[in-house]
C-alpha cells in the first residue's frame, strides 16, 4: 500500500503545507478533509457543476478533476483565502446586495469563476458573462441575479457608473 501514499508540499492560501496523501485523493477532498477548508464544495464529482472550483497557480480548476498528488509544489487558493485577501470584496458585496445567491452552495465557485473573467476582460457583455459561467451550476437563482452582480462589478471596476 505504501506506493499509494505520496509526500507533497503545497502552498494553500499562502501557508506552506506538507502532507502525505493517498494517490487517489482529489484536490477538493484533500482541501476539505485534510485541511478543513470546506468552502470548496463537492457537487457532481465529475467536472460539470463547478462547485469545487479553486485556483491552482493562478488558474481556475475543478477540484474534483485534479488529484492532490498532482499539486506538489503548486500554489493553491480557495475561497477562504481569496476572501481574506480582499481581492473579491466588491464581487462578494455585489452578490449580497443583488441576492445573487440563495442556498450559497455554488457561490464560492461562482465568485472565483467570475473573478477569472473580470481579471481577463474589461467589461464583458451579459452574453459573455453567461457563457463564462456555463460550467457553474446554480439551481436556486435562475442565474440572472448572478449575471447582474458580475456586470455591476465589471462596470464599477472599469470606472463606469451603472
Amino acid at each position: 500500500m505504501t506506493e499509494r501514499l505520496h509526500d507533497i508540499t503545497v502552498s494553500v492560501n499562502g501557508e506552506e503545507i506538507r502532507e502525505r496523501v493517498d494517490a487517489r485523493k482529489t484536490l477538493v477532498d484533500f482541501l476539505r478533509e485534510e485541511l478543513g477548508l470546506t468552502g470548496s464544495h463537492v457537487g457532481c464529482e465529475h467536472g460539470v457543476c463547478g462547485a469545487c472550483t479553486v485556483r491552482v497557480d493562478g488558474a481556475v480548476v475543478r477540484g474534483c478533476l485534479m488529484l492532490a498528488v498532482q499539486c506538489d509544489g503548486a500554489r493553491i487558493e480557495t475561497i477562504e483565502g481569496v476572501a481574506d485577501t480582499g481581492e473579491i470584496a466588491d464581487l462578494q458585496r455585489a452578490f449580497v446586495e443583488r441576492n445573487a445567491l440563495q442556498c450559497g452552495y455554488c457561490t464560492p465557485g461562482m465568485l472565483l469563476t467570475a473573478q477569472e473573467l473580470l481579471r481577463n476582460r474589461d467589461v464583458p457583455s451579459r452574453e459573455q458573462i453567461r457563457v463564462h459561467l456555463s460550467g457553474n451550476y446554480c439551481r436556486c437563482t435562475g442565474y440572472q441575479a448572478i449575471i447582474d452582480a458580475i456586470e455591476a462589478v465589471a462596470q464599477a471596476r472599469a470606472g463606469q457608473k451603472r
Binding site: 468552502g39 449580497v96 443583488r98
Partner: protein
Amino acid sequence: MKITDDSPPLLSALDRPNSYIGRSVPRPNLARLTQGRAQFVSDVTLPRMAHVAFVRSPHAHARIETIATAAARKAPGVIAVVTGAELAKVITPWVGVLTHLKGIKSAPQHAIAIERARWQGEAVCAVVARSRAEAEDACELVEVSYGPLPAVTDAETALDPGTPVIHPELGDNLTFERVHVAADPDKGFANADTVVETTFIFGRHTGVTNEPRAIVADWNAGDERLTVYHGTQAPHMMQNLFAKHLGLAEHQVRVVTKDVGGSFGIKVHTYADEMATVALSKLLKRPIKFVADRIESFVTDIHARDHRVRAKIGVKNDGTITAWEIDDLTGIGPYSVYPRTSGIEANQIVNLTGGPYTCPNYRARARVVFQNKNVMCQYRAVGHPIATAVTEGLVELAAARIGMDPLEIRRRNLIPDDAHPSSGPSGIKFEALSHHEALAHLDAMMNYAGLRAEQKSLRARGIHRGLGFASFIEVTNPSAAFYGVGGAKISAQDGVTIKLDAQGAIICQTGVTEQGQGAEAVIAQVAATSFGVPIERVRVITGDTDHTPYGGGTWASRAAGIGGEAAWQAGKALRTNVLACAASILQAKPEQLDIRAGVVVDRDSGTERLALDELARIAYFRPDTLPPGFQAELMATRHYVPRAWPFAFTNGIQASYLEVDIDSGFVTLLKHWCIEDCGTVINPQLVDEQIRGGVVQGIGGALFEHCIYDGRGQLLNGNMADYLVPMAAEMPDIEVGHVVTPTADSELGAKGAGEAGTAGAPGAVMNAINDALRPLGARPLTEMPFTPQRILQALGRI
C-alpha cells in the same frame, strides 16, 4: 383589498414607523456564504465519526438470496457491515399512506431492503468505515446473490392482469385512484362548437440539489439522545420520524439544520439511507455520516412529474370554454414515499386543472401505480406544472382551432377579479384572485402587440419565433388540510419566539427554516417592524428542534406567509410587554408609548423616552428598582396557522418568447415574463428571485431534464453530464411584476411565492414552441422535455 400604484395610501396595521415591509433588505446571513464560511451538513465532522456507504441493487427487481460480508468485514478501516435484516432490529419499517387520500395503499419499506430489492439503487447492505473511501472499497467486497425478477416499468401496463404485482399482499399495482366529476361535463362537451383532445406527457425528472442529501447522526448512549445534523426542510417532522422508528421519545431526538445546499422539496421526505444512517448510529453508538454521491442522488432522491394526461377541452366559437376532462396516469416507483405519500401530485393535478377559469363542467380521473423505478414524490410546485401545462395547453390549442388570440380567450374565461370568493371546477376555494389585472399588466409589460408585429416580420425572413402564455394558480400557506388531517405529524402551524437581549437587540427563534429562499430575512424584517427596532438589531435562529418553537419548516410556500405572521404577532406581543416595563420605569401609561427605531418614545410626539438597552439593563440587572409586584416579561411566543381558508391561493400569468431553429430543433429562450400576486410583498427582491429561480426550474423540465429509464428499469443518464440541467448560457432574463391582493386571513396579508415560477413556466414554453411552429404545419408538441429530436419529429423533418 387591492393596492395599486395610483391609489391613495391605505393605512394598515403594517404601516409602522420605519417599516421594513415591502423593502428589499439584503439577507442577513449571506456574507458567510460568499466567504466559504457556511456550515453545510456535508462539512460537519464529529469526534469518532465514521462514514457509511451502501451496496445498492443493480437490478430494478430482484430477490436478495444471499449477502456474503466476510471479505468486506476484513477490509482496511471497516467498522461494521450491516444487512437489512440486522438493521431491522434497530429501526422499524414505515408505510407512506394518509387517511384523507381515500384508498391509498403502500407496503412497508425498510431502511435497507430485506429479501427483495424493488428498484435499481435501493440499498441492500451498509458498510461503515473510518472514511467514505474505505467504506466504498469494502462495498465492492460485499457479494450479493440476486435472483432477478421481472421489472414493472411501464405505467400504462402496470394494472394489466398479466403484469406481476410488485407487492403481492396489496393485490394489485394500484397505489391510489381519484375520480372527480363536477357540474355537467357531458352537456358541456355537447354544447361545444369544437372539442380539442390530446395527450400530454411529462418526463420524469428530479431536483438535482447542488449539495446532495447529507446527514450526520450522533447517538450518545450516555445522554440517551440522538442528535441529527440534517439537510432537511422539516426538522420537527424528522424529529418525530426518527423517534418513532427508533423507539425513542421525541425529546430524545434533536435535529439540527444549518446551511442546506438546495432543497426544492427533495429534502422533505423520508429516505431509507438516511433512516439507515440514524439506525447505524444507534447500533454502533457513534456518529455516522452519510452524504449521497451524485450517482446515488440520481437513483434515490425522489423523482417527480412522470405523468401521462389524456385531456380534452370543449370551446364555443366565441371562445367560451364549456368543459374539461383529464385522465392522469403516473408511476411512482415501488413505494408511496413516507410520510407525505406519492398520491399528492396526482391529487393536485385533479385539484388544479381548469382552476383559473369559470367553466365548472369537469371530469377527472387520476391513477397512481407502482413500478420498479426510483420513487416519486413531492417536488417544487407539486402537480402545478402539469395541471397548468395541461390547462393552458388546451386553452391555446382551442384558441388556435377557433382562430382566437391566446390572451383574448383567457380574458373571456378567467374568473373575473370581482367574482371572489369563488371556487375552481374541482371545488377548491379562492379567497381573492387577480387574473385579469395580472393579464393586463403582462400585456403592457411585455409589449405584446409589439412582439406580435416583430414575430410576423421575422417570420417573413424565415425566423420562427413563438409567444406562449400560462395563467396559473398556486397553493400556498397550507392549513392542516394538507397533511395533518390525513394523520401525518407535519405541523401546519408555526411559531416565533422573540426575546429582548440585555443590550436591547432582539433574538427570534422560529420553526420555519432557511433553505436559501430568505426566510431568515423575512422573519427579521417582520419582527423588526412589528416590534420597532432597526433590522441590524435582529438575530434569527432557525433549524434546531431544541431551540425553536414547534413548526412545519419550509414547504408548500409557507415560510413567509405563516412564519411571517407568527413573527408579526410575536413582535407585537413583545412590544406590549416591553412597553409595560417601560411604563413602569417611566411612570407613564403603556398606551402613550411606542417603540420606534429601537427606542421607547412618546407615542404622539415621538420624543425619546428610554433606550432599549437601558430598559434591558434595569429589567435584567436592577429589577429591584421596579415597582413591587411588577415582573418584566421580555420574551414572547406566538403561533399562527391559517384557519379561514384551507390554502391561500395565489395567481399570476407567465409568458415565454423564444426562437426555434427549424433545422437543428434547438430552442433559444429570448425572454420570459411573470406577473404574480402573492399578496403583501414583504421583500420584493426575494420574491422576484423566488420567481426567477422557479421559472428556470420549470424551464428545466420543459426543455432539458429527463430521468431516462430503459425497459428493464435501469436509469440510463444518472449523472450531470448526461442529465441536462439549465445552465447560465441558455437561460433568458426574466421580468417579474406584481399585483397585490393580500389575504385577509392574516394581518400581514402575505401569501407564498416559492412555486409560482415553476408552476407556469413549462406551459408557457410549450405554448411558445407551438406558436412558433404552428404556421409550419407542425404537430403540436405535448411531450416534455421538448428536445431537438422531438421538435424535428413534430416538424416531420426526421
